[in-house]
Amino acid sequence: MNMTMTVIGKPMLRLEDPRLLRGEARFIDDIKLANMAEAAFVRSPNGHALIKGIDASAALALPGVMAVLTLDDLRPHLSGEHLVVGLPSEAYKQDRNRPALCRDEAVYVGEPVAVVVAENRYIAEDAVDLVAVDYDILPAASDCRAALAEGAPPVHRDGADNLLAEFDMEYGDVDAAFAGAAHVFGESFWQHRGGGHSIECRGMVADYDKPTDKLVLWNSTQMAHSSLRVLVEMLGRDENRVRVVTPDIGGGFGPKLVIYQEEVVVSIASIVLGRPVKWIEDRREHFMTSTQERDQYWEVEIAVDDAGGIRGIRGSIVHDHGAYTARGINLPQNSGETLPGPYVVPAYRMNVRLALTNKVPVTPVRGAGHPQACFAMERMLDRVARELGLDRAEVRRRNLIPAESMPYTKPLKSRSGAPIVLDSGDFPASQQAALDKADWSGFGARQQAALEDGRYIGIGVANFVKGTGRGPFEEVTVRIGASGRVQVYTGAAAIGQGTETMLAQIVAEELGGEVANITVTTGDTARNSLGIGTSNSRVTVVAGSSAHAAARKVRDKALLVASHLLELPVEELEIVGAEIRAKGADERRKNVWIALADVANAVAGTPGYALPGGVEPGLEATERLLFDAMPYVNGTAVAEVEVDPHTGGVEILSYKMTHDCGRMINPMIVHGQVIGGAAHGIGNALFEWMQYDAMAQPLTTNYADYLLVTATELPRIEVVHTETPSPLNDLGVKGVGECGVIPAAAVLASAIEDALTPFGVRIARAPITPPDILALIRAA
């Protein structure tokens, strides 16, 4: 990229904001169609049960109820009963796909058994209570380690055991590394993350139009094209008879990348009734039925030399997968892959087992397995420092990949089969900058002074890397028509991260410099033939790059056509706003210009007339740039905390990060993403716990029992940005959506443990709640 960018890199105000601030945005529940009915689901109240019968007669007798549908009623409209969505892998030992509705067995609390459609939501919910389901309760598997034990109750009645998948990742001679090591330290960790908790729950409106035989599904999803594919496959419909459209989306955070049973069921309900049907998830349903991240149990050992240099790491992970495969084995795969992270780890082996449990499926939540790996790695490095009497930051410095080793190849393979290559960044400098900003070296004196006051303060540090921009591509079309305004279309959904503004800035850079002249449409399958969707911190990298390439093509063509029409060479023309003008201040040239609209019209074709300059028709381009290798973001967090040993309360005194996500398209948006991510991670570290009892009954299903972090628990989060352009794309960008989350639990565990040094407390779990801290102090 040249260095004279005028739009990219500016902290422009977001195009999305005015409509959101005025209450004029259109979220899924704001869509109200004529003759629209509303749905509510009958859901299993049991973790595991046989369904012996469903009696809907009382519900159907309620005035205003139009239908109660079970799997039997859906069958005539289904070409397949199960949602087959799992990412491919050879590690699966069992195929566990979700049926559209329960057949004769329910395997998690909240699994949909039947749907009620009524005049409105109030009546539909009344009717749900009137549907009598005859259950035979079966033993349930709740804890994932217990689920893998001999004799554990099977999650599915027909299952021999609960091992969903198992795989190993390995490189180097691990056993030799451990055999010759000066020191070997072992740790056991329990880590938990929790749900997505977008403040807008899931929801959809299915609108089947009988005369045209077309189904439109308005869907609050991150993945419009995946939703379309599942509907095409399961309903046996042609692509041109189904359209999935995303409205404004009130947050995603991972769970909305999953395709759910409701998308199929609500669509069929609309087809059966021949009228639009809306379903909006309520918060209790979000806790029970939107996918979550939950438990991982880690056993890890690290082998080091006398100077704290890492020789090898080995261990095993047991991962709670839930009752079905709603995405794949990708989460613990991420965890295992990313454990060596920003460090030189010469030999590595990790065994991963995914356990079925009688709980809602587990799929990525912002961070997707990376926070757990960061926690495990950073906790082990703290242990090494303590055992060898070294400064924690110094142990890390000795093991960080040096800047001169970039790009650095890890012999592990990512899921596309390509090796993991850390493409760019200066990890030691990132750590040093964070330490300096937090006055790490002066902390000892601060801590001593606090102790003399009877206050327990501590500091922690954690480094992370995150692969972003997962390929293979995201399609973007850039088009100029009769309006002269630039239309940008991508299949990726906008879930609150400023996608419209980001794409508009990239396109405006090439096409006239004014974002106000750009209109962006996201997540509509009628507008893009191909699409993957919004996940994996990927949209800026993959959609941004395609937008950039498409905008360049449109720009080149617009200038070519204009050069014919204005009879000036292309080099003497430039696009300014919505016009193409002759360059230079020369008075004569001031009046030599043509509107983009006229250029577009000239190539839109007039019956019987040739196009100017013999160009192809249309002022548009579609790009699907392919990406395999992922640009890696890196950063460091340093946090200072005060712990009250009498209450177990933790106050975060300061939280500082360094963050390098390559070139920033809009620094204001990037900053907001990192801070929002950090807040999410802090919530995970200290508060969020999705609790279940032994029968796999969820116990925390409202925001009084399940704690999201609020403004009063958060410190001011300070972030220093560095921009090391990624060599993997022309824009030099990396993704940012998930990165802030990753080091939070690791850095807070480190700081809390440091604060409690006088008590000798060791932290091996997240979340770290006040009762946990009190118990640890008591036990120490």
Binding site: G64, E200, Q497, H671, L708, T712, L714
Partner: protein
């Protein structure tokens, strides 16, 4: 079918008279009956604050209020915050300038909560603001941009900018 009542309310300065089922919440009444969909529902159990409106100038959770309870009262919703179709309220401007919204789903509740707060506390500290919005959940922003926006808006409002 549940019983109905006729209620009269003034919403953003406009008077409405409607027959409502007694069990209908104020949030559903505003959103579905009056088509004012800017008020959002994030939890429907009184914790997230997304549904916050003002009832006679005091913030209230419209998910926990029945429409019939609002009979005869003045309501302000997010649609009534901006002074005109091409102008924003200083707090709205500040939220955009300080990136105090991402998905924007929590924003209407944040706005109505903070407007009441800034009326009562024209010169708040950062800690005051954090406390004031501690009943509003935002999953996106980490609240920092919201806090900065509130500080900036307070300053602008003190300076006599239009309200």
């Amino acid at each position: 079918m549940s019983a109905t009542r006729t209620i009269s309310v003034t919403v953003n300065g406009k008077a409405y008279e409607r027959e409502v089922e007694v069990r209908v919440t104020l949030a559903d009444f505003l959103r579905q009956e009056l088509g004012l969909t800017g008020t959002h529902l994030g939890c429907e159990h009184g914790v997230c604050g997304a549904c916050t409106i003002q009832l006679n100038g005091r913030s209230a959770r419209s998910c926990l209020t029945l429409a019939v309870q609002a009979d005869g009262q003045e309501i302000k919703t997010v649609e009534g915050v901006a002074p005109s179709a091409d102008e924003l309220h200083p707090l709205q401007e500040a939220l955009s300038e300080h990136h105090g919204l991402q998905c924007g789903f929590c924003t209407p509740g944040i706005l109505l909560t903070l407007l009441e707060f800034l009326d009562d506390n024209p010169d708040p500290s950062e800690a005051d603001i954090r406390l004031a919005i501690s009943g509003n959940l935002c999953r996106c922003t980490g609240y920092q941009g919201i806090v900065d926006a509130a500080l900036a808006a307070a300053e602008r409002l003190r300076g006599g900018a239009a309200k």
